[in-house]
């Protein structure tokens, strides 16, 4: 089959250790599948096997650091909490102010409506008074 021949020709060129070394950091965690030629090379090359072992040790050591917590300076926690407290207070003041603003606007609206209603009542009563005057005369 021509495609098989092509595949054989492609795999026939052997990779150099430098080419394999360049590929190792990308495949050491096993998340990406290694090229078959890289696999073949590593299987038969002690130098590249040693290099792969180094990368695996490096990865293990890095994962161990995950549970290694540094001791933060005593002021760090109080600094974070104070910062949050301040943000909380600012938020409360903002909501208080926006609540007051809403109350103020509401009050103005009510007062305007009340004034309008009162004005209407006055006008209506004056008009009815004018209508009553000729009868009185």
């Amino acid at each position: 089959m021509p495609s098989e021949h092509r595949e054989q020709r492609r795999t026939a060129r052997r990779l150099t250790c430098e080419e394999v070394a360049a590929a190792l950091p990308g495949i050491v965690d096993g998340k990406a599948e290694a090229d078959r030629r890289v696999q073949h090379h590593v299987a038969s090359c002690l130098r590249c096997q040693a290099e792969l072992v180094h990368y695996r040790k490096l990865l293990r050591a890095l994962r161990q650091l995950r549970t290694d917590y540094l001791e933060p300076a005593p002021g760090v926690l109080s600094g974070i909490l104070a910062n949050l407290e301040e943000a909380g207070e600012r938020g409360a003041i903002r909501s208080l102010l926006s609540g007051r603003r809403a109350a103020y606007i509401g009050g103005v609206a009510v007062a305007t409506a009340a004034a309008g209603a009162a004005g209407t009542i006055v006008l209506v009563s004056r008009a009815s008074a004018r209508r009553r005057m000729p009868l009185a005369g």
């Binding site: 990865l59 917590y69 600094g79 974070i80 949050l84």
Partner: protein, 196 residues
């Protein structure tokens, strides 16, 4: 007994400020450690971690709860650190230079022998600190904190492909530093060692 973080998150989301304070107390050492590893110094780590909790507090309603609280905090911390590093780079361009050369501290120990007896954590930590910040951020988030490439790219404001390339380079640099081989030594260095 470790605190029930999920329960604290639920209470904090419904407005219980003291529950959020408890979340901070339970996780701040972890976040500080990450911030320190990303920033490389105590002062910046302190700023980053304060900023991260403030952002988390303001954005708590957006936390969907499908990830763990700590993982969500790692992402926020990484984002704050990235912002901080970007600000810093405007003042000191050399900090973000990927090609910055670390100082050589490998002379007085035999890496092969040390590897036989297990890694010294402080050696790894020191080697990490000497990496350029751009490379350090990616390897810390991927290989220590196990964040996916996509999340790392998003928080650092880079493409996923760029995150993978940086990870690759960071691993190679650390390997060269902790397990130097003959091919890692430049001809000049080799000449010097022969001359001695």
């Amino acid at each position: 007994m470790p605190p029930d973080l999920a329960g604290l998150v639920t209470s904090a989301r419904s407005g219980d400020k003291s529950a959020f304070d408890e979340l901070v107390k339970a996780t701040y050492a972890d976040m500080y450690t990450l911030a320190f590893r990303l920033m490389g110094n105590e002062e910046d780590a302190r700023d980053v971690v304060q900023d991260a909790y403030l952002r988390a507090y303001r954005g708590l309603k957006r936390f969907r709860g499908d990830a763990r609280f700590t993982t969500w905090m790692y992402r926020i911390t990484a984002n704050c650190a990235s912002t901080n590093l970007a600000k810093r780079s405007r003042h000191r361009h050399d900090e973000l230079d990927d090609e910055a050369q670390p100082i050589d501290v490998q002379a007085d120990h035999n890496p092969e022998q040390q590897a036989e007896f297990g890694f010294e954590r402080d050696r790894v930590s020191r080697a990490l600190e000497e990496l350029p910040p751009r490379l350090r951020a990616v390897i810390v988030l991927r290989d220590i904190y196990d964040l996916p490439h996509g999340d790392i790219a998003e928080e650092l404001g880079i493409t996923e492909a760029a995150a993978k390339v940086r990870l690759h380079r960071a691993r190679r640099k650390l390997r060269e530093r902790l397990f130097p081989t003959r091919t890692d030594v430049s001809p000049e260095e080799e000449g010097e060692s022969h001359a001695v």
